[in-house]
């Protein structure tokens, strides 16, 4: 077996913390980074030696797979700031293009027939590869439904470059979920918020592999 690709989680908020925690549970080494090294160091104390705190620059340099658990607009900025350093890297985008509106809820901040995956794929730094993944469940379910027994819950993903599928599937498995590819990045809308396969969309809940296959095929 080949060695697993080095993975970094950048942005240690609700989702980033869960992804890093899941990976440690899945016995995978993970580099963790946020705006400050202190925040990463603090989390690493909780997670143990598999979680290695780093600065953002060091994380980007070290890792082959970079999970950007920051908001959609932040990812756009990130692509600009680290355009050169991201060459050759696999970027995992969990973002949902929503923001609080003035009326108490959240609404989409791009057109309703657009996806953040597709928007980001157009802004992707040259030489980088993109996967839409790890954003289909809310933070609570991403934590609670991980490593489910006896049957694992599914995390959907989308990629244009299929040569990275194995690495993305490994990442999802080490997060405690069963990976299901729904197609290219142009299918991202299905696995983003309000999509037919999102927990906060038509699907409503984490599902098992057999149910996932049914709903993916039915559409």
């Amino acid at each position: 077996m080949t060695q697993k690709s080095k993975v970094a989680v950048i942005g240690l908020g609700s989702i980033g913390t869960v992804v890093a925690t899941n990976l440690v549970k899945g016995n995978r080494t993970v580099i963790i980074a946020d705006r400050t090294l202190e925040k990463a160091t603090e989390l690493s104390k909780k997670l143990g030696s598999l979680a290695q705190p780093a600065t953002i620059a060091a994380a980007v340099k070290e890792a082959e797979i970079i999970v950007l658990t920051i908001w959609f607009d932040g990812i756009k900025e990130f692509f600009k700031t680290y355009a050169t350093e991201l060459q050759g890297k696999i970027i995992v985008d969990p973002s949902n293009p929503i923001a609080p509106d003035e009326k108490g809820g959240f609404k989409k901040i791009i057109d309703k027939d657009q996806s953040s995956g597709l928007v980001l794929s157009e802004l992707l730094p040259e030489g980088a590869k993109l996967a839409k993944a790890l954003g289909t469940l809310g933070a609570a379910s991403l934590a609670n439904a991980a490593f489910r027994q006896p049957e694992k819950a599914v995390e959907f993903y989308a990629t244009d470059d299929t040569s990275i599928n194995d690495q993305i599937e490994g990442l999802i498995r080490d997060n405690g979920f069963e990976p299901v590819r729904i197609g290219g990045i142009d299918k991202s809308i299905r696995i983003e918020v309000f999509g037919d396969l999102h927990e906060f969309g038509a699907l409503g809940n984490p599902v098992t592999l057999s149910k996932a296959k049914q709903v993916v095929a039915a559409a």
């Binding site: 929503i98 809308i189 918020v193 309000f194």
Partner: protein
């Protein structure tokens, strides 16, 4: 555009509508255009007392309640609505006046909303929606009549039984406090009621 939108939370609404009224492509397109998705996290307000109810809400996933808080701070739930259900303050919506109700989320909830102007434009541009919404409102009215009648003529136990019959999908999702506020009893009373029922339901030894 159609291709991608057909993979969103609009679909459950189209399914819900077409069950009773087959829609043609043009009408489906109008639904896709006029309804907008919103996410409310648990405890967020969809409507607050004193504001005008500007949207008709269809629930894709989750659960909302409409309620009033009296002067003593007691919560009175008027309606509970989960998947494939509608909720709003009809008086405030149509008369464009401040609402006496609050609507908030008991779970993370995805709704599809249509504004008053858009709903009226639907009625004008596609008369089938006039019929669809007439039936939806009739159903809501019937439901409210039954609930009102029950409140003035049935015992708390009968109301609880009817809650169990009508909302089997919600029993494990709602707290006893919410169910009590819906039935118009105190949580202590509901707890006693449940105790009595579970004792009398125990199988007798033969």
């Amino acid at each position: 555009m159609k291709e991608t939108l057909s993979h969103t939370s609009i679909e459950p609404l189209l399914e819900h509508l077409t069950k009773s009224f087959p829609l043609n492509e043009k009408e489906k397109e109008l639904v896709r255009e006029k309804f907008h998705s919103r996410l409310f996290r648990k405890r967020q307000f969809v409507l607050q007392e004193g504001d005008v109810c500007t949207q008709f809400n269809f629930i894709v996933r989750g659960c909302l309640r409409s309620y009033k808080i009296d002067e003593k701070g007691n919560v009175h739930i008027l309606q509970l609505a989960a998947e494939n259900n509608w909720i709003n303050d009809l008086g405030s919506f149509h008369h464009v006046k401040p609402s006496a109700l609050n609507i908030d989320a008991l779970e993370d909830t995805v709704v599809l909303q249509i504004s008053r102007d858009d709903l009226i434009s639907l009625y004008i541009n596609a008369p089938k929606f006039d019929r669809i919404f007439r039936v939806l409102i009739e159903n809501g009215f019937i439901h409210l009549q039954e609930r009102l009648l029950q409140n003035i003529s049935s015992t708390a136990e009968e109301r609880y039984q009817s809650f169990l019959d009508l909302y089997p999908h919600l029993i494990n999702r709602l707290s006893q406090v919410q169910i009590a506020a819906f039935l118009g009893v105190t949580p202590e009373f509901l707890s006693r009621l449940r105790n009595i029922r579970s004792k009398s339901a125990k199988p007798t030894k033969s």
